[in-house]
C-alpha cells in the first residue's frame, strides 16, 4: 500500500509540479508493519543522513538498509523501518534527503504523512 505524501518542502516557486521523489509504502508483517521508502526512478536517498519518520506521539523512527552505493553515500535498496501493530492512521512528518536524477544537488524534504495503515 502506498501512502500519499504532502507537497514538497523545497518546490521552486514557479516551477511546474513534480512528482514526489519518494513514496512511503506500508506492508503488513507478523509483528506489525514494514514501512519502506521507495525513491522515484533515478532519484537517490541520502544514506549519510538516514531518513526519519517523526510520529505525532513524539516517536522517531529511523529508516535504514544494509546495502549502500559504492561511495556509501546513498541507499542501494529502499530503506525500511518496522512499526508495531497499531490501530488507526499513520500521522507524522517524514524527513528525507533526496538527490534527484540528473541534478547534482540534494534536497531536504519534510513531508507530512497522514494516512490509514493497511488492515492487518
Amino acid at each position: 500500500m502506498a501512502l500519499a505524501l504532502g507537497p514538497l518542502a523545497a518546490c521552486a516557486v514557479a516551477a511546474p509540479p513534480r512528482p514526489a521523489p519518494v513514496r512511503l509504502e506500508a506492508a503488513v508483517t507478523r509483528a506489525g508493519y514494514r514501512l519502506s521508502l521507495i525513491p522515484a526512478p533515478g532519484a537517490r536517498i541520502n544514506a549519510r543522513l538516514k531518513p526519519v519518520l517523526e510520529l505525532t506521539d513524539g516517536t522517531r523512527l529511523q529508516f535504514d538498509a544494509p546495502a549502500l552505493t559504492a561511495d556509501s553515500g546513498y541507499f542501494a535498496e529502499p530503506p525500511v523501518i518496522g512499526l508495531e501493530r497499531r490501530p488507526g492512521r499513520l500521522r507524522g512528518l517524514l524527513r528525507v534527503g533526496v538527490c534527484p536524477a540528473g541534478l547534482n544537488v540534494c534536497e531536504s524534504l519534510a513531508l507530512p504523512v497522514d494516512q490509514p495503515l493497511p488492515p492487518g
Binding site: A15, N46, L49, V105, S108
Partner: protein, 172 residues
C-alpha cells in the same frame, strides 16, 4: 532567476548576467571554525568572496570539497576568501548542528578555509538558497555577481567555469 528554471536545467546558473549586481546581504553567524573571530562581509570589502552552502551529510557537497580546497589553495593569496556556510538539513537530533562533528568533518576533508555554523538557517534564508551545495560569488565591492548550485569536481567543466569567474573578479 535560478529558482524559476525547470529543475532539470538548473544545475549551475549565472544569476546576474548583464543586470545590475545587487549588494550581498550581511550574514551574522556567530559560531565559526578555522578562524579565531567571526568574519563579516564588511571586513572582507576589497576581497572576492565565495560562499559555499553545504553540510557534511550531503554527498554532493562533500564530493565538491576537493575542488573548493583547490580554489582556496590557488586563490587565497590573490584575494579570494572562501567561506563554508554549514547549514544542517535535519533537526539537531541528527548531529549536524554539533560543532565537534563539523570540526571533525573539516579535518577529515582537509578544509582550511573558514566555516560558519548556520544552524538556524538564517544565512541560508538571507541568500534564498534552496539546494545543497550552493555557491555565491561576491566581488570586491560586496556585490553578488554569480550564484549557482550543484556538485562539481577538480578539472571538470564547471570547475573551470567557476575558476574563470573567480579569476575575472580577482582581476577587477
Amino acid at each position: 532567476m535560478a529558482k524559476l528554471l525547470p529543475i532539470s536545467l538548473a544545475v549551475l546558473v549565472a544569476l546576474v548576467p548583464g543586470g545590475e549586481p545587487r549588494p550581498a546581504p550581511a550574514w551574522k553567524n556567530v559560531s565559526w571554525l578555522n578562524i579565531d573571530r567571526p568574519l563579516t562581509l564588511e571586513s572582507l570589502r576589497g576581497r572576492v568572496v565565495l560562499l559555499n552552502f553545504w553540510v557534511f551529510t550531503c554527498v554532493n557537497c562533500t564530493n565538491t570539497v576537493p575542488a573548493l580546497v583547490e580554489f582556496d589553495r590557488n586563490y587565497r593569496a590573490r584575494g579570494l576568501t572562501l567561506i563554508g556556510i554549514h547549514t544542517p538539513e535535519f533537526p539537531p537530533y541528527a548531529g549536524e548542528h554539533d560543532e565537534g562533528n563539523l570540526a571533525r568533518a573539516l579535518q577529515q576533508r582537509g578544509i582550511l578555509y573558514p566555516n560558519a555554523q548556520d544552524n538556524d538557517r538564517a544565512t541560508w534564508e538571507l541568500y534564498g538558497i534552496e539546494y545543497w551545495p550552493s555557491f555565491v560569488l561576491i566581488d570586491r565591492k560586496g556585490r553578488i555577481r554569480y550564484e549557482g548550485y550543484g556538485e562539481f569536481h577538480l578539472g571538470d567543466a564547471w570547475y573551470r567555469e567557476w575558476s574563470h569567474r573567480i579569476e575575472a573578479l580577482l582581476a577587477e
